[in-house]
Amino acid sequence: MNGQIVIETQELTKVYGEQVAVNHLNLKINQGEVFGFLGPNGAGKTTTLLMLLGLSEPSSGKAWVCGFDPTREPLKVKRVVGYLPENVGFYEDMNAAQDLKYISRLNGIPDEISRRRIEELLRAVDLQAEPKKRVGDYSRGMRQRLGIAEVLLKEPQVVFLDEPTLGLDPDGSNQILEFIQSLSRDKKITVFFCSHLLDQVQKVSHRVGIMIKGHLVAAGRIEDLAKEKLGLGQERYTLEEIYMKYFKEGQS
């Protein structure tokens, strides 16, 4: 980690009507880091992601992604950021290569370059075996791997993954998690990873942020949070214990 900040938010706020979805969020994420973003459903994780991508306009506050302001220059942000939405959908009638080709055209990648890249990616996510299979016939794990391939097609500096392992079997989610780790380790890609599967987050994240009701209640390395919340003496701790402490405090 060379410590360069790739994502920064200052007092980022989003209000929907009466409800404050994200409340004065301050966040800094370094390059090459795997940042686990935790929180119960409806805590404002996805809203934060959408604001960082320029898909949703913040009510107040500022954000920078790779030096660009997503509200002002959304296209520049989208060029360097890959986003895998929760429960992503596909054009069911295409096969994996066709799907990736469409995405690469949308990214303006010339066909000569994309052809090679698609081949490499299909091998990397282990989908090369049945090239003619329709995406509609894919299993959940295969779809999720294809989604990751789509995200990596543009060779991003940052990837946003929203619940990438939700509903996968242990084997499938392990595959994805290992892939996430290799992205950060080998390619120095920053991974911003929303989930509420705590053991998985603990396994791969360098740092975590816990968001409850729009507030970022904690952010830092898991060991530091453990010290702060559970006391020094505790040798064995899980992220779940820390999380539940914060969660209960957040509720009251």
Binding site: L55, L75, V81, Y83, P85, N87, V88, F90, L106, K154
Partner: protein
């Protein structure tokens, strides 16, 4: 621009390979060919005694035959093509959860709706041109009259007007696909619009005009000024329907013997006879002058529909859930 093109090619491919497109175009093609065949063989008998018929080739499209003419068939069922191509363009992406993926690619958000509309427009153009050419080919064999340059020009203008007319319905159904989340709702809304504009508006035009300018039916000498006002009001109401707009424009352009889009009021038998006996065809320029306002209005309402859906789409929040 790259974004628009990528979406345009993908959508065009989808349109031409979709089952519903193939079904619909086969249906329309078959009906058109049947009508053309009937009209073609009817025309021979009809024109047997006419000394020097003019613009015979165009009559292939305007001659009512036994049931209805080709242009009135297209006026009624053309909208279906537009509706079928557009009613799920945006909300399918939403329900398939591909929209959030699409908008997170480095393309302008309007490329999505522009590319889709462009693809629909081109699909309509190709399909309609193919149908007209096929009918022309069949007509050539059936009636054995080669179209002159003016016939070809008139036909080309007819094709242009029709493409805009069908695209108007594409615009309407795309608008509903942006507004309504459910595909069934947007399809129903578009069909409701089609029925209102095609059947209801022409029907209520007369009663509405009666209500505003009541003409006393009991007197034999009604006030002529009132009659004119009544007629103008009726016409204004019926022109609210794009179908009336379209039928008037296309019959004028394809039938050079028609000199006005107004239906003549209180025409006596002698006048009718003189009109049918002693008139000359209108030059193409003059026909164009008559339909120009119609053409402009058609393009305007098409663009208006598209603009409204554009605005709605640009303002919509994109949430994946």
């Amino acid at each position: 621009m790259k974004g628009i093109l990528a979406i345009y090619w993908k959508e065009l491919e989808d349109h031409f390979s979709s089952t519903r497109f193939i079904l619909l175009s086969t249906l329309i093609l078959m009906v058109s060919l049947v009508i053309a065949f009937m009209v073609g063989s009817g025309l021979r008998d009809e024109l047997k005694d006419v000394a020097k018929p003019t613009f015979v080739f165009l009559m292939l499209f305007t001659f009512p035959g036994k049931l209805f003419s080709l242009i009135s068939f297209i006026a009624f069922f053309g909208p279906l093509i537009g509706i079928v191509l557009g009613f799920d363009s945006i909300n399918r992406e939403r329900s398939d959860r591909t929209l959030s993926k699409l908008v997170s690619q480095p393309i302008y958000r309007d490329s999505i709706i522009n590319g889709k509309f462009l693809a629909g427009f081109v699909t309509i153009s190709i399909m309609f041109l193919a149908i007209v050419l096929l009918i022309s080919g069949l007509g050539l064999r059936l009636i054995g009259v080669v179209p002159g340059p003016e016939d070809v020009w008139r036909l080309a203008i007819y094709v242009l007007i029709s493409i805009f007319y069908i695209s108007f319905w594409l615009g309407i159904s795309s608008l509903f696909s942006v507004i309504f989340r459910s595909m069934a709702t947007s399809a129903l809304a578009a069909i409701a619009c089609w029925i209102i504009f095609s059947f209801a508006v022409p029907l209520v035009a007369s009663p509405l005009a009666d209500a505003i300018y009541p003409v006393d039916q009991s007197t034999t000498t009604p006030d002529p000024e009132l009659l004119v006002q009544h007629e103008q009001a009726r016409k204004a109401f019926s022109l609210l329907s794009p179908m009336t707009l379209y039928s008037e424009a296309t019959t004028t352009i394809l039938d050079p013997l028609r000199k006005t889009t107004q239906s003549l009021l209180l025409m006596g038998p002698m006048e009718r006879l003189s009109i049918s006996r002693f008139q000359n065809p209108l030059p193409l320029r003059e026909s164009l002058y008559i339909v120009f306002p119609h053409l402009i209005s058609l393009i305007a309402i098409t663009l208006l529909c598209f603009a409204i859906s554009y605005i709605f789409f640009m303002r919509q929040e994109v949430r994946s859930t």
